[in-house]
């Protein structure tokens, strides 16, 4: 293979490249061949590797540099445009998500209020029934037993549910606290990283 056929094959394997870039590549390698002289032709071809391999190397490098350019931070205008385009779909979704979260929070709140009310009722019924039971025990044995039983059951339920709440609330508090702390740490880390990044970019522009 001589230089001409080598370059022709290289051109073939670079056919997907941008025409201007391709001409640039081919001109560069043609020049190297010409400057090296005919006697060094085969040596050069050996060093370049096959046209296919050289083309692959060049293409890989151009893709890499292009993707690095794409990795640049988005300009604020582009960001705003994308946000505007996303609004018709994003806004309803956002509103839905907001209401779902709101409903869940409200439901949780009402449920706990309900449970607390029920608990208080158990407690009240328990004490009252016990009182009535003790008082009516002397009048009628069966009524007294009935009220005493009701009172004991209610008091038992009251103690159970109250114990549950006494476990639940500190547990919830702890969970929320760790969640808050974790988010705070994460946000702090992000801010720090952004600051470092910004600083580096400043250095670069200097």
């Amino acid at each position: 293979m001589n230089a001409d056929t080598y370059l022709k094959r290289l051109k073939f394997f670079l056919r997907r490249m941008d025409p201007e870039d391709k001409d640039d590549v081919l001109a560069y390698y043609r020049e190297i061949f010409e400057d090296a002289g005919e006697e060094k032709e085969s040596e050069l071809i050996e060093e370049f590797g096959t046209p296919r391999r050289l083309a692959a190397e060049i293409l890989a490098d151009s893709y890499e540099s292009r993707s690095r350019e794409n990795g640049k931070p988005m300009s604020p205008w582009k960001m705003i445009l994308i946000l505007l385009l996303a609004l018709p779909v994003g806004l309803p979704l956002l509103i839905c998500a907001f209401f779902v979260v709101l409903c869940l929070a409200a439901a949780t709140l009402f449920l706990s209020i309900l449970l607390i009310c029920a608990d208080l009722c158990f407690g009240l019924t328990g004490i009252l029934s016990l009182l009535i039971g003790v008082l009516s025990f002397f009048q009628s044995f069966s009524i007294g037993i009935f009220y005493l039983g009701l009172g004991l059951t209610s008091t038992g339920l009251f103690i159970l549910v109250t114990r549950f709440f006494m476990w639940l609330f500190p547990w919830l508090y702890g969970k929320l606290k760790t969640l808050y702390q974790k988010t705070a740490v994460k946000l702090k880390g992000q801010m720090k990283r952004m600051k470092v990044k910004g600083g580096k970019e400043d250095e670069k522009t200097l």
Binding site: F48, I58, S65
Partner: protein
């Protein structure tokens, strides 16, 4: 065993070679090959990157009825070379604290 020459070190070498005089592709390759062992084909991507970043520019001269493309360092390229030189000094010192030893150890 040889040390691999990374992309940024190669860029720095090219800028340094061009800071003395403008060179065309083949001669530039020869100059670089005098100091580091690289293949003839490795330099093209480096030159392209440097040109894209504005660290060097090209101009064409005809030579014996054909074209020769010369590479010339820009002002930005000279600034970059300065930064590379500082970085290199620092780098050598740091590596030397670990790797450098007495001459007779070798």
């Amino acid at each position: 065993m040889k040390f691999q020459v990374g992309a940024s070190l190669l860029e720095a070498c090219v800028l340094a070679a061009l800071s003395k005089e403008d060179l065309y592709g083949y001669l530039l390759t020869q100059e670089i090959q005098k100091v580091v062992d690289i293949s003839e084909s490795t330099l093209y991507p480096v030159l392209r990157r440097l040109k894209k970043q504005g660290f060097l520019e090209t101009y064409d001269r005809s030579y014996q009825g054909r074209n020769r493309r010369y590479y010339k360092i820009t002002k930005a390229g000279e600034d970059m070379l300065c930064a590379y030189r500082e970085e290199w000094c620092d780098y050598v010192k740091r590596i030397d604290t670990l790797l450098g030893g007495e001459q007779d150890e070798c």
